[in-house]
């Protein structure tokens, strides 16, 4: 069975600083995908970044990047130059060939001015 664990319920960062959110996962699949989703107070689920497990290169999307450690089953999200609009809950998720997405418990990030 797939599991995703986010061990940091809450984090805070000063505006313009860098913050890293942690995520570990477990899966028996050989081919899978990993995601970070952002959920602002509106509750809308917004895709932040996506990583294909067979690719060794870490995915990057503007200020967002991941540190994908396949052997350790770790998938952390780094947010550079944090902005007030980054304040949200962030979910790590894993999907398998069946297409199901399994979520972690979420990390609430507060960006302080």
């Amino acid at each position: 069975a797939q599991t995703v664990t986010q061990s940091q319920p809450e984090m805070s960062v000063q505006e313009a600083e860098t913050v890293t959110l942690s995520c570990t996962y477990d899966t028996s699949e050989n081919n899978y995908y990993l995601f970070w989703y952002k959920q602002p107070p509106s509750r809308q689920m917004i895709l932040v970044i996506r990583q294909e497990a067979y690719k060794q290169q870490n995915a990057t999307e503007n200020r967002f990047s991941v540190n994908f450690q396949k052997a350790a089953k770790s998938f952390s999200l780094k947010i550079s130059d944090s902005q007030l609009g980054d304040t949200a809950m962030y979910f790590c998720a894993s999907s398998s060939n069946t297409g199901k997405l399994i979520f972690g418990q979420g990390t609430t990030l507060q960006v302080k001015p």
Binding site: R50, F91, G99, K100, L101, I102, G104, G106
Partner: protein
Amino acid sequence: DAGITQSPRYKITETGRQVTLMCHQTWSHSYMFWYRQDLGHGLRLIYYSAAADITDKGEVPDGYVVSRSKTENFPLTLESATRSQTSVYFCASSDTLSGNTIYFGEGSWLTVV
């Protein structure tokens, strides 16, 4: 506009009543999903469908029924609503052509009194 839409967005119902949440997507994605999110928690998979007329249980299927007679629609029915089913319900869709990325609707807020 193309995308994934849910209706109703907000619903209050009484214990014991039947409620159906509608989901419609315009991308012709193969996979569709229903998740629930309880306050302060992550998303849990209720049911998913790999194609028309194919459905399967997720993590928390009890008390729910789904159908998929057409690719674009995936309604979720609470046969006899209970207070524990008060939650925000998210419909989602994906396709291998989208790299298994899952796209979410805006959510349906359901309160059972």
